[in-house]
């Protein structure tokens, strides 16, 4: 509640407090009211795995999971994630540094070429397989429709999604 009260007092251009759960850790920092979540992640927190692409919510390179669901961090005001849970690609690996099964699936399927779309693509696939352990091809295609890849032609990414689902079911 204290957070709520202080949120309401800030005026134009003044920094304001922001507290949220980022990759499993509570973070607390100051942000500008017009700051985008993408910029907070990359420029204030140094988490450059989240990519800046089209900036209008069409390419999906900036995808993060907000309370487990994929969203475009380029369309999200940082202030609006106060008290919520954000997962970026940096938060996916295990505590021992081991790759997440979805990351392993992408590597093993050769689903990465230039790598720019990969963080967003992996998070979209993670959200899918978390919710739906046995997706159909249509489920996969729908889940990644908001992530553009200009290298792979998608086939290996779709293969990776199925492999990821199999790994997650094990």
């Amino acid at each position: 509640m204290e957070d709520q009260a202080s949120l309401k007092k800030t005026s134009s251009g003044e920094e304001r407090p922001l507290k949220f759960e980022l990759n499993g850790t509570r973070v607390s920092l100051s942000i500008l009211p017009d700051e985008l979540l993408l910029d907070t992640l990359r420029d204030r927190l140094g988490l450059t795995g989240t990519k800046q692409g089209c900036e209008i919510g069409e390419c999906g390179a900036c995808t993060v999971l907000l309370d487990g669901k994929p969203v475009c961090s380029c369309l999200m005001l940082a202030a609006s994630v106060n008290g919520r849970r954000v997962l970026t690609i940096e938060g996916l690996k295990g505590p021992d540094g081991k790759l997440h099964p979805v990351q392993e699936a992408f590597v093993e399927s050769g689903a990465i070429q230039c790598g720019f779309c990969t963080p967003g693509m992996i998070l979209s696939v993670k959200a899918l397989v978390d919710e739906n352990p046995d997706p159909t091809r249509e489920d996969v295609v729908t889940a990644i429709a908001g992530n553009l890849c200009r290298c792979t032609g998608y086939t290996k990414i779709i293969d990776a999604a199925f492999l990821a689902a199999r790994k997650m079911r094990r």
């Binding site: 134009s12 609006s80 429709a145």
Partner: protein, 292 residues
């Protein structure tokens, strides 16, 4: 992006108070607003975040009406069993809108307030006969969605201090047949080039009791095609009526297209959409089977 203040409203009343001077903008999902802020198309003094107001996220059936909070997201429509059972065209519409990233945050209220000629949700909502509840510090009022759309393209008749709170329409009859169709340049993240929603209910003599047809992206705002509805209402379903219905929808849309550059394409394309929709709603093969 010009600088603005950010306010997270905990209730509709708080949001209305923050919007009172007309210098604020409502952030419902942000998928349109944040782009407009970035492009310098809007310069609000404050952005009022309404994403944490529980009553705006309601989705229920009440006294024979489907009631949707203005903050219901497109993805919530798709996954709602109530909407799947009672108003499937909204599911068809929502699943063709944007990407999952967009559908997870974009809201019905935001789509409405943005006032785009191709606003996907307005086409089925118009066909369902939607009433909208608006609130400001001056009080609450209800208006027909069609009245809200009496405005230039990209705008709606919404004073700058009013918030869209609730969207409601009568629960469609159990025997209603309805469909939403959309044409675009590609399958995903597609801005509608043309969209259509048709809802038909039958009386006990298998005549059309009520017909609702709405079309989007063919006029400054989505509209009901009342001439086609009049033609269909009260008539027994037949292959000939289907042809006349397709003809009337096409004629009406061609008129509203005027001389815009896309008119030659759209006036042909509407025929295909109208035929597909009416063929589905008439379901003549099933009618024949039942009659024999």
């Amino acid at each position: 992006m010009s600088s603005f203040d950010y306010f997270q409203a905990a209730s509709v009343e708080e949001a209305a108070q923050a919007l009172k001077d007309g210098e604020g903008k409502i952030l419902a999902g942000g998928t349109d607003l944040v782009v407009q802020l970035k492009q310098g198309k809007v310069h609000p003094r404050r952005v009022i975040d309404i994403t944490r107001i529980p009553p705006l996220r309601r989705l229920k059936e009440e006294n024979g009406q489907i009631v949707l909070g203005a903050g219901v997201t497109f993805q919530e429509l798709i996954t709602s069993s109530l909407i799947q059972q009672r108003s499937f065209p909204l599911v068809q519409m929502a699943s063709q809108m944007g990407s999952l990233q967009i559908r997870n945050v974009a809201t019905l209220g935001g789509n409405m307030a943005n006032g785009s000629p191709s606003a996907d949700s307005l086409v089925p909502l118009l066909a369902f006969g939607t009433t909208v509840t608006l609130q400001s510090t001056r009080g609450s009022r209800e208006t027909a969605l069609s009245a809200l759309l009496e405005a230039p393209p990209g705008r709606v008749s919404l004073p700058p201090d009013e918030i869209i709170v609730e969207i409601r329409f009568p629960r469609p009859a159990p025997n209603a047949r309805s469909i939403f169709l959309k044409l675009g340049r590609r399958n995903a993240l597609n801005i509608a080039r043309l969209s259509l929603c048709a809802i038909l209910t039958l009386d006990s003599n298998r005549r059309i009791a009520t017909a609702a047809v709405a079309v989007g992206s063919a006029s400054p705002h989505p509209v009901r095609v009342s001439t086609a509805e009049k033609l269909l209402n009260g008539s027994p379903m037949s292959p000939q009526l289907l042809e006349e219905g397709v003809e009337e929808i096409s004629r009406s849309v061609a008129r509203s297209l005027g001389k815009r550059a896309s008119a030659p394409y759209k006036s042909l394309a509407i025929r295909g959409l109208a035929r597909e929709a009416l063929e589905y709603c008439f379901n003549l093969e099933e009618q024949r089977r039942q009659a024999s």
